[in-house]
Symmetry: C2
Subunit: 320 residues, 2 copies
């Protein structure tokens, strides 16, 4: 199993190199801006999931490679576009494309990364691949729009939150697992199990992300703590606290007052922590992890199954 991680690690290195190659543009400025986020690093989670998914079928790295690259490109495109609109300044610890080159460049570079993914996807003959990715992309946009619509909406429910993070995060991770299997011609039942695994894992991943945004070490996180609250994005711990905190009136006031100062944001996070908002969210995350693991039951007993289980545990315990 350690061996499997080692294998994936070296394959991810190839994914990285190929991504760098594919982003070489006719104009040096396009190359520089397009590779900027790639150079900032990242976990390459989606490519990794596609490689793991592929191992549940008739594995061929060459078959998965274009998909793995496309998934990371789609993810990077959403990050770049996210930064345009949130006027975020830091991402993965370095300047965002937006901060360095402005909205103009970010919008087009996001489009460029996304379009590059389409060329890779068009290599596959199975219509499933492009169909699932197209539908996922539409839903991801819906998620982003809903994040705008629900900004500072103090009445949103846990269900609204689930609906939103499913679109924003879970569906692409889900597609990574499912399509990795599909391109390696895994039986459709296996691909379907992986889809469910990925979906539940993706939900847990976003919940953990949202928890870390409140409690993580700022240096590890690579961006300021409480950045969601600063933008009016209410995540699971906040939604919980707005219902259950004895100081919810104060929290209401802090959030609806659109406070931006470190002191006020810190106070809001304290209120959320004190009433058990973080603990609640972590528990919900654990439930999704458990469901992800259960989705693996239908898979044949192979080393990759155990790896997928370990990955699920890692998602929950990561610190950044």
């Amino acid at each position: 199993m350690q061996e499997l991680f080692g294998e994936i690690k070296s394959e991810l290195k190839v994914v990285e190199e190929e991504l760098r190659k594919v982003l070489q543009a006719p104009d040096p400025f396009i190359t520089e801006t397009a590779t900027h986020l790639l150079n900032a690093g990242g976990k390459r989670l989606r490519p990794a999931f596609s490689l793991l998914g592929g191992r549940c079928g008739d594995y061929s790295f060459e078959r998965v490679l274009p998909l793995a690259m496309a998934l990371e490109l789609i993810h990077m495109a959403t990050l770049v576009h996210d930064d345009v609109v949130d006027s975020a300044v830091k991402r993965r610890g370095v300047d965002t494309v937006k901060a360095r080159w402005g909205n103009k460049v970010s919008t087009h570079i996001g489009d460029y990364l996304f379009s590059k993914s389409l060329i890779l996807v068009s290599r596959y003959e199975e219509p499933l691949i492009s169909r699932v990715l197209a539908e996922t992309s539409v839903k991801m946009c819906e998620g982003e729009m809903l994040q705008i619509v629900t900004c500072y909406d103090l009445n949103q429910t846990v269900k609204d939150y689930f609906y939103r993070i499913k679109r924003k995060t879970a569906l692409l991770i889900s597609a990574s697992c499912q399509l990795g299997a599909a391109v390696c011609r895994a039986p459709s039942g296996v691909a379907e199990s992986l889809r469910r695994y990925g979906y539940n894992l993706g939900m847990a991943f976003q919940i953990t992300d949202d928890i870390l945004d409140m409690v993580a070490d700022q240096d590890l996180l690579g961006k300021p703590v409480g950045s969601d609250l600063r933008q009016g994005i209410l995540t699971l711990p906040a939604i919980y606290a707005l219902r259950h905190s004895p100081r919810r009136e104060r929290l209401f006031k802090l959030i609806s007052g659109r406070e931006q100062s470190d002191g006020k944001i810190g106070e809001a996070i304290e209120i959320i922590k004190d009433c058990g908002g973080i603990v609640f969210a972590a528990r919900v995350g654990q439930r999704f992890i458990a469901r992800a693991k259960r989705a693996l039951a239908a898979l044949p007993a192979e080393p990759v199954k155990e790896t997928l289980r370990l990955v699920a545990d890692y998602i929950q315990t990561r610190r950044y």
Copy 2:
């Protein structure tokens, strides 16, 4: 032939209705913003070209419809993203998505429109369709980036301009003609002729657009005259004048001074007109039109061929 135009007109109405249907989203705000540009109208040139292209094959409206819709969605996505970055205020005579809802919404709605096109494209089994559209999308982004890179670049050549407008405009019109034929199983030679027709027509179309930006009636155009110059975008008439005007020193100064006032922009346009910049650009446009018509030579003599010739004439003579 009039009959053919009538047929296309009624088919374009269906395209319009289907576009409206496909943009109905689970959230009313998404529907409103996504249909905003659709409601502003437009020439629907790309769908029309795909319908005409289709008629050079074994025509079926049902076969072309998803492509026609996808082409307009891709075009609309680029317009919405263009408006984000140019901070333009008017488009097709009404507020832009950017002006009404800001950069956040525009970026995501552009992505949404584009992703919707992918779902439509994924219906086709021919790998050519998605491959050509993916490659076209990449090149369109390159064109947009080059437009940023060459802003206020007084040394750019006519060749730079051609390279840029090919990507920005001509390739999507080219793909519209070519793929319309391809989805209707036209022989590859026919599709190739249409590709060349569309490319040359697209070049002429953008040149006319750039001329109109300087000379059109503001009310017909639906946006302020001289908006390219105001943004530092140097088009063919300006590039010509910077070489050939006896007052080119003054023009240099006006452009490099990044003048924004109506008076100064008006003065720059006068200099460009006086030295024959508009006439020169119009002549270059005519050359592309002639090439577009020559590309039709290889097509079988059918009514659609004559229509394509008339369309070429219209492109050159339009006033807005």
